[in-house]
């Protein structure tokens, strides 16, 4: 084919669209969510890489430097034993964020499982499972959390060691008390998606129920679950900090953010920096996660015009 050199059609790249790109484009328009993503990423980076840069040990006791305000040697000051608050917060952030993430995974796993079971089976199984979800929703979470931790702490400590035991228990209990919203979301999504033509096509081709759910329905029901999961991370961080703040979470040698605040609260008048920095860490993490969840809600809702 002879190309005419005179007319050069400027080859505009065809605009690519994918659900991911589209969601990203929408997410970027939520300014607070974008700013929050940047802040949260820097917090995560500081927590993950910080201890390699800031090599002060978390448990170096120095009574000569106790309860000091911020200085060059201790950017966030020291606590009542002269331990460096920055090092403790960097270490504690790992535990706090890990608890948040793992509890969210537990909640999402249980929620998706029960929601799919209820949505696909209808009838009496559905009714019982949803009654169970309603029942769990009406339980007072914090008193129950305290009760379970009070009764089972010693036993798990003996099996998994003081740190591992408390970690597993807190994650399981927080996650186990937060699956209900996810389950209801997944069930509602399944009830509407299972009647769509593409699922009917899969059914007609002989796809098993499991395959219908895993391959066809769940990927299309993911948006609200992601949003709920994001907010669950924030809620789990608050729950863990609350437990530690009440003195019933991790043992004193594991400085999670809530635990540091618990230790700091009795020195509020002479060393306010101690409480302020640890509280600010919790607040910043929770606030940014909530904003990101809000941004994701806008980005992942296909009906929303943005």
């Amino acid at each position: 084919m002879a190309a005419s050199p005179a007319v050069v059609v400027p080859q505009r790249k065809a605009q690519r669209f994918s659900p991911g790109l589209e969601a990203w484009r929408r997410f970027r328009r939520h300014k607070l969510a974008m700013a929050s993503a940047v802040v949260l990423l820097s917090i995560v980076a500081a927590i993950v890489f910080g201890p390699f840069v800031w090599r002060v040990p978390i448990n170096e006791i120095d009574f000569a430097a106790k309860l000091q305000g911020p200085s060059w040697g201790h950017p966030l000051g020291t606590d009542d034993l002269g331990q460096d608050v920055l090092a403790r917060l960097l270490y504690g952030g790992r535990v706090s964020l890990a608890v948040g993430l793992c509890a969210m995974l537990v909640a999402c796993f249980v929620g998706v499982l029960i929601g799919s079971l209820a949505g696909m089976s209808r009838g009496s199984v559905d009714a019982v499972l949803m009654w169970l979800a309603d029942f769990f929703l009406s339980l007072p979470a914090l008193p129950l959390l305290l009760l379970i931790i009070y009764l089972f702490r010693e036993a798990l400590k003996n099996v998994l060691g003081p740190e591992g035991g408390v970690f597993v228990m807190i994650v399981l209990v927080i996650g186990g008390l937060r699956w209900m919203p996810v389950a209801r979301l997944v069930r509602a999504q399944i009830l509407s998606i299972r009647e769509k033509e593409f699922v009917e096509a899969a059914r007609a081709l002989g796809a098993s129920k499991l395959r219908q759910v895993v391959r066809h329905i769940l990927p299309n029901a993911l948006g609200p679950v992601i949003v709920a999961g994001t907010i669950d991370v924030a809620a789990a961080i608050i729950a863990e900090s609350t437990l530690s703040f009440l003195g019933l979470g991790f043992p004193p040698d594991i400085p999670t953010w809530g635990r540091v605040l618990f230790d700091a609260k009795d020195y509020l008048d002479i060393a306010p920096h101690w409480a302020l920095f640890s509280g600010a860490a919790i607040f910043l993490a929770v606030l940014t996660i909530n904003f990101i969840g809000d941004g994701l809600r806008d980005a992942l809702d296909p009906r929303r015009v943005l």
Binding site: L32, F135, L137, S138, L139, P140, A141, L142, P143, L144, L146, L147, I148, Y150, L151, F152, E154, A155, A234, I238, S241, T242, F245, L246, G247, L248, G258, L261, K265, L268, D269, P272, A275, L276, G279, I282, F283, V286, L287, N290, F291, D294
Partner: protein, 323 residues
């Protein structure tokens, strides 16, 4: 509200209460540790005495019979004896309950008083500057954990405030003074706990109120009201808000479990002598009967508030009762 709905709704309470009691008992039964563990390790107590004690208190019975036994005792009001306070658990809880209810009640009131006007105003001008500021503040409000807000308030109002506006940060049941002075002192020491809880609740309530009003404000009957020439103020207050508040009632009740969580934390920070701080101190002192009793009371309160919400909801919106 039809009588039928009332009865049907009241009947739902029974399985929820049974479920809660079953859950609590299961947790207690699965928990390691034996109430006679101390006797087992004590060489002065011969094994046959231990066995006789176990048989007397029914510890070797099958689980279901222990559950029934426990349930009947709970229903009769025999909640056990507090090892630490040296008194019956139900008396102890009844002493502490009014304080908690007053604090929670005033906090909810504060939350509603703050959230209603702000939410409605934000919804009448969506995406305006006011709406954006309110939304951001709401986000900050429910991202601030109650224990941190409490410490911040203590820092500001008890440590760094000038003398005349300082607030006490320890709640005292035995206020010195009589008459007006007595009430004034009580109000003064309740300000901080109520503010912590109320603002946290109000922050999440603002967003609910806003979206509820936004749902209603676009409906046709509102346009009709406007086209009849009714002033905007009157349309909002008489037509929009009255309808929009119906779902908010349910949301206030559904928030109750979270409120109780917040109440435990605030009571602990400000040393308010309610059942929340009782729960924490009993846990720290290994006082199992009190821990069980307080948890059960919290669960009952949640069930009760859910019931109230459903009844109020059916009363406000008669369509519900006919479903």
């Amino acid at each position: 509200m039809s009588r039928q709905y009332l009865i049907r709704r009241l009947l739902i309470v029974v399985p929820s209460m049974l479920g809660i009691s079953l859950l609590l008992f299961t947790v207690l039964a699965l928990a390691p540790g034996d109430p006679f563990g101390e006797l087992a390790s004590n060489p002065a107590v011969p094994p046959e005495v231990r066995a006789a004690l176990r048989a007397k208190f029914g510890l070797d019975d099958p689980v279901w019979s222990r559950y029934l036994h426990w349930l009947v005792a709970m229903l009769r009001g025999d909640w056990g004896f507090s090892f630490v306070s040296r008194m019956n658990v139900d008396t102890l809880i009844l002493q502490r309950l009014p304080t908690t209810l007053v604090v929670i009640g005033s906090a909810q009131l504060l939350a509603i008083v703050v959230a209603l006007p702000v939410g409605v105003l934000a919804a009448t001008k969506p995406y305006s500057l006011f709406d954006q500021i309110a939304n951001t503040l709401a986000f900050i409000g429910f991202s601030l954990p109650t224990f941190f807000t409490g410490l911040l308030l203590i820092l500001v109002f008890s440590i760094h405030a000038p003398e005349w506006m300082q607030l006490p940060f320890v709640y005292r049941a035995d206020v010195a003074g009589t008459g007006w002075r007595f009430y004034w002192e009580h109000v003064r020491q309740s300000i901080m706990p109520v503010m912590v809880l109320g603002l946290f609740q109000g922050a999440s309530l603002v967003r609910y109120v806003r979206s509820a009003v936004l749902d209603v404000i676009r409906l046709d009957y509102v346009t009709t009201a406007r086209s009849k020439g009714i002033g905007e103020r009157k349309v909002i207050i008489k037509h929009v808000v009255r309808t929009a508040l119906i779902p908010v009632v349910t949301l206030v009740a559904l928030q109750m479990p979270i409120v109780f969580g917040g109440a435990i934390v605030t009571e602990q920070i400000f040393r308010v002598p309610g059942i929340g701080s009782l729960l924490i101190s009993s846990i720290l002192a290994n006082d199992t009967p009190v821990v069980m009793g307080v948890t059960f009371v919290f669960a009952c309160l949640v069930v009760f508030f859910n019931l109230m919400a459903d009844l109020i909801y059916a009363w406000l919106d008669p369509r519900i009762a006919f479903r």
